[in-house]
Amino acid sequence: MHGDTIIIGEVEEGKVLPVTYELVAFARELSPGPIAIIILGRDMASAAGEIAQRTGLEVIAVEHAFLDRYSSELWKDVLTEILPRYYPHYIVAAHTSLGQDYAPGLAVRLAACSITSVQGIVWEDGAPVFSRAIFNGKLLMDVRPEGITVLTVQPGAFRPEVSERTAPGPVTRISIQLAPQAIVPQGSSSSAEEDALPLTEAPVIISAGRGIGKQEHLDLVYQLAGLFAKAAVGGSRPVCDLGWLPYRSQVGMTGKTVTPKLYIACGISGTPQHVAGMKNSQLIVAINKDPHAAIFRIADYGIVEDLMVFIPLLLEEYEQSSLQ
């Protein structure tokens, strides 16, 4: 079978990452034609089996000892060798740290069109046009592809389908020859420190963005968190870059993905990177003085106010109401 659309799946330590199934949902919306999924790694038998079982689609597992660890060189070499055998029209990757790293270079190598961080498909005369957020989500850019196209899809933008019971798809395992590389992977590490109440377990998260203006204003955010029985304080990437909060408090694509019962975004503009990490919170409240901030589009309740004035007033009103 030759795929109209080839998905490049993500598998970590033998486990299929959920974003792989989001890519399947995207590919199904994109084209009724055949879809196949490529995964790369050392021993992908069980991951390939799982994907074939769950999706009913063809899975191509490319295996080599060197593929145990990711490197963009390696992935581009392997994919440039394997992909053309299947004549794909669309090559679909995730807009993760992995996809961002190899996909644009892969597109150059394949002389393909490259469109990144796609979050929607609109149709024009039966042809797909890919939508992506720009200017912190204030605008959408619709991109018409030209020829063979490599796409990276924003994580969280497409819901993985609940699998209907189908026969598992065929699994093809391919082993390949690899040349020495200009990039040598050297392993990975994580920052082990954790807070008493880790962000991912907090039922309530009060989150600070660059809109808080000064590090001292974080006090207000902590005071607001103090109203709740169990709340953690998080932040957007810029706030962590400024050193106002540690990186382990960062919510978003390069930080934590959280799904608290309540998320209060204080001075957060709502970039796609941040939204990807918190949009599945049960209740979202946003406070921002910029009425055009993208965060208001995903908030259940929006408050267009200067939070340096609003939060003290809110705390004062809370005091008064609890005295009554």
Binding site: S72, E73, K76, T96, S97, L98, Q100, D101, Y102, P104, G105, V108, R109, A112, S114, I115, S117, A133, I134, F135, N136, K138, L139, L140, M141, D142, R144, E146, G147, A182, I183, V184, P185, Q186, G187, S188, S190, S191, F228, R237, P238, C240, Y247, T254, L262, P272, L283, V285, H292, R297, I298, A299, D300, Y301, G302, I303, E305, V309, L314, E317
Partner: protein, 256 residues
């Protein structure tokens, strides 16, 4: 070491952003522009290398209309040695492949050992020019780089790149290489007066693009405003009324 830093000029995204008449780009006349925040980290990292590795030259390059000369000047003020302006004729959207092709055309025979750029641009969030440029030049590339260490013999560079959940991957790349750096890698400096004065006098190297490269790019783009999602409401009334309304909502959901 010969280092190239690619910088982009972007509008302040907190401003009111309005789509222009063509529907293909934004009204730029009233916008305030500055250096892409991610590129500031790239400039700073180049300057940190210059401080430790003797005879390092840092070139700062930007592609765009005349307005982008301001960010090249800014890089010079921070401490870059030379400024290069690849001059585009019009104020409009140019896709990442076109930009990468233009940089390649200039950079391919300049003997750069290291090319630095930001992981993405704050305005169009594509994350493409860096990895595309590396591929066109046939050099290895790492994105989302949060730290680097040059080998003593300057033939290799060790990097950590940041991946999801705050984890880091480590790689060693043979030079020449390209790094697309993540924010937070360092603390970008403010210009020193001596560099400000030097930058004022210094001529930029200006390159007219002439014929545009033919690229298999994004065929066309249009911009639009997102539809207002029905998900939520904006609280109305005075500030005090909004505070009271929010407390009622939090009570109703049993958070307070």
């Amino acid at each position: 070491m010969k280092i190239l830093v690619c910088v982009k000029q972007v509008p302040d995204t907190e401003s009111l952003i309005v789509i222009d008449q063509s529907g293909r780009w934004i009204e730029t006349a009233s916008l305030v522009f500055h250096m892409n925040r991610y590129d500031e980290y790239a400039v700073e990292e180049a300057l940190l290398i210059k401080e430790t590795v003797q005879r390092t030259v840092v070139d700062a390059l930007s592609v765009g209309p005349a307005r982008v000369r301001n960010v090249i000047k800014r890089a010079l003020e921070m401490g870059a040695d030379n400024g290069i302006h690849i001059a585009l004729p019009e104020e409009r959207y140019y896709d990442p492949l076109t930009i990468a092709s233009l940089i390649r055309r200039y950079a391919h025979d300049q003997g750069y050992d290291l090319i630095l750029c930001g992981i993405m641009a704050e305005d169009d969030l594509q994350s493409q020019v860096g990895p595309m440029l590396a591929e066109m030049l046939g050099i290895p590339c790492a994105t989302s780089v949060i730290s680097q260490r040059l080998a003593d013999d300057l033939t290799r560079i060790s990097v950590e790149r940041e991946i999801e959940g705050g984890e880091r991957e480590r790689f060693e790349l043979a030079l020449p290489a390209l790094l697309a750096v993540q924010s937070g890698m360092n603390r970008p400096r403010y210009p020193a007066l001596s560099n400000v004065l030097r930058a004022k006098r210094q001529e930029l190297i200006t390159i007219d693009v002439g014929d545009m490269p033919h690229t298999q790019g994004q065929a066309s783009i249009t911009l639009r405003y997102p539809e207002h999602s029905q998900r939520g409401v904006l609280l109305s009334g005075s500030m005090r009324e909004k505070a009271q309304a929010l407390l009622r909502i939090l009570h109703a959901h049993a958070f307070l």
